[in-house]
């Protein structure tokens, strides 16, 4: 960079040669671009394998505990995102029920979660592996890339779909390298994520049903963090093996 600047100054002030001055400026631009490029970024394939490995542990845990209900990605105050998996078989929800006086209800009046959705509130306690919220038992899991969410800004739902797409793309494509690109469409309480060329093979069986595939899970976590609300992976559909459509529900 400094060499390019020196070359440019030399040819501009002394030699009075514009093309070689431009060459010096070009060298300075390329040099400064090289200077601010990370020297040894972690290869995305390595990140992907580590994330897949963490999902295998969760799969074993879900199998052992017999959890089979879809989980809620809940953003926490420290910037991370946790998954609350209901341990009861029925999906019926008692909106606002609070059988245990010490527990929080399903939702509060501040819009932290949608009453009746069954999602635990954002300040739901974490008392060990299984916690009780509003009379219901939830298995609390740190999903893959939970800590990655601390890098994402939270907009508390004030920004538009483009910012949501940016947040999900940052997590799934840029940070984790799990897809080539993605597109997000938001409609009311529903968020559709169209993922191009998903690369992970992890996320089958029970873990996929409860938490979604690796890509869907990270997208849900990013959406939960960006919107400041609980999010559930409603459905996933592979289209010709090159695309995956994920439906998320804001709760």
């Amino acid at each position: 960079m400094a060499f390019g600047a020196a070359v440019a100054a030399f040819f501009w002030f002394i030699m009075d040669n514009v093309p070689l001055t431009a060459l010096g400026i070009g060298m300075a631009v390329v040099g400064s671009s090289l200077a601010i490029t990370p020297l040894s970024p972690v290869p995305s394939a390595t990140v992907r394998r580590m994330l897949e490995g963490s999902l295998l542990n969760i799969e074993a845990l879900l199998e052992e505990l017999g959890a089979s209900t879809k989980g809620y990605y809940v953003p926490k105050a420290d910037g991370s995102v946790q998954v609350y998996v209901p341990m009861d078989k029925g999906s019926a929800v008692n909106a606002g029920s609070n059988s245990n006086g010490n527990d929080d209800g399903n939702a509060d009046a501040k819009g932290n979660s949608n009453p009746g959705s069954g999602a635990p509130p954002l300040d739901a306690p974490v008392d060990g592996l299984i916690t009780k919220v509003g009379g219901r038992q939830f298995l609390v899991i740190f999903p893959p890339a939970s800590a990655l969410m601390k890098n994402l800004p939270s907009d508390d739902g004030e920004a538009g779909a483009a910012d949501l797409e940016g947040a999900i793309s940052e997590a799934v494509v840029e940070e984790a390298g799990l897809a080539d690109s993605l597109r997000v469409t938001e409609s009311g309480q529903s968020v559709i994520v169209e993922i191009s060329s998903p690369k992970s093979k992890a996320g089958a069986g029970r873990v996929r049903h409860v938490m979604g595939s690796l890509e869907a899970g990270i997208a849900a976590a990013a959406a939960a963090k960006a919107r400041g609300r609980a999010v559930r992976v409603e459905s996933e559909e592979d289209v010709k093996g090159r695309k995956r459509n994920v439906a998320l529900a804001l709760c």
Partner: protein, 80 residues
């Protein structure tokens, strides 16, 4: 090859080809070169989306230079 290296490689190639082509055309205005560098830099940013360790200083410098060049041209057109 990762996208960071690819981005830098593409940028270096673009800059080299630009200088060669414009010099061959006997272009003697420095603002033309800088405008082309700015365009190429932002094309590389948009296409490859390279990671940056900190604030993208060359992007800011090139954009600033480009803004000054455009402003001078507009002033020249308006006030002769």
């Amino acid at each position: 090859m990762d996208k960071n290296s690819l981005s830098n490689l593409a940028l270096a190639s673009f800059v080299a080809v630009t200088v060669w082509a414009l010099a061959a055309l006997k272009e003697a205005r420095i603002d033309v070169y800088i405008s082309m560098f700015t365009l190429e830099y932002f094309v590389c940013l948009a296409v490859f989306r390279p990671r940056r360790r900190f604030f993208d200083l060359p992007a800011a410098a090139l954009f600033g230079a480009f803004a000054i060049i455009v402003s001078l041209r507009v002033i020249e057109v308006l006030y002769g």
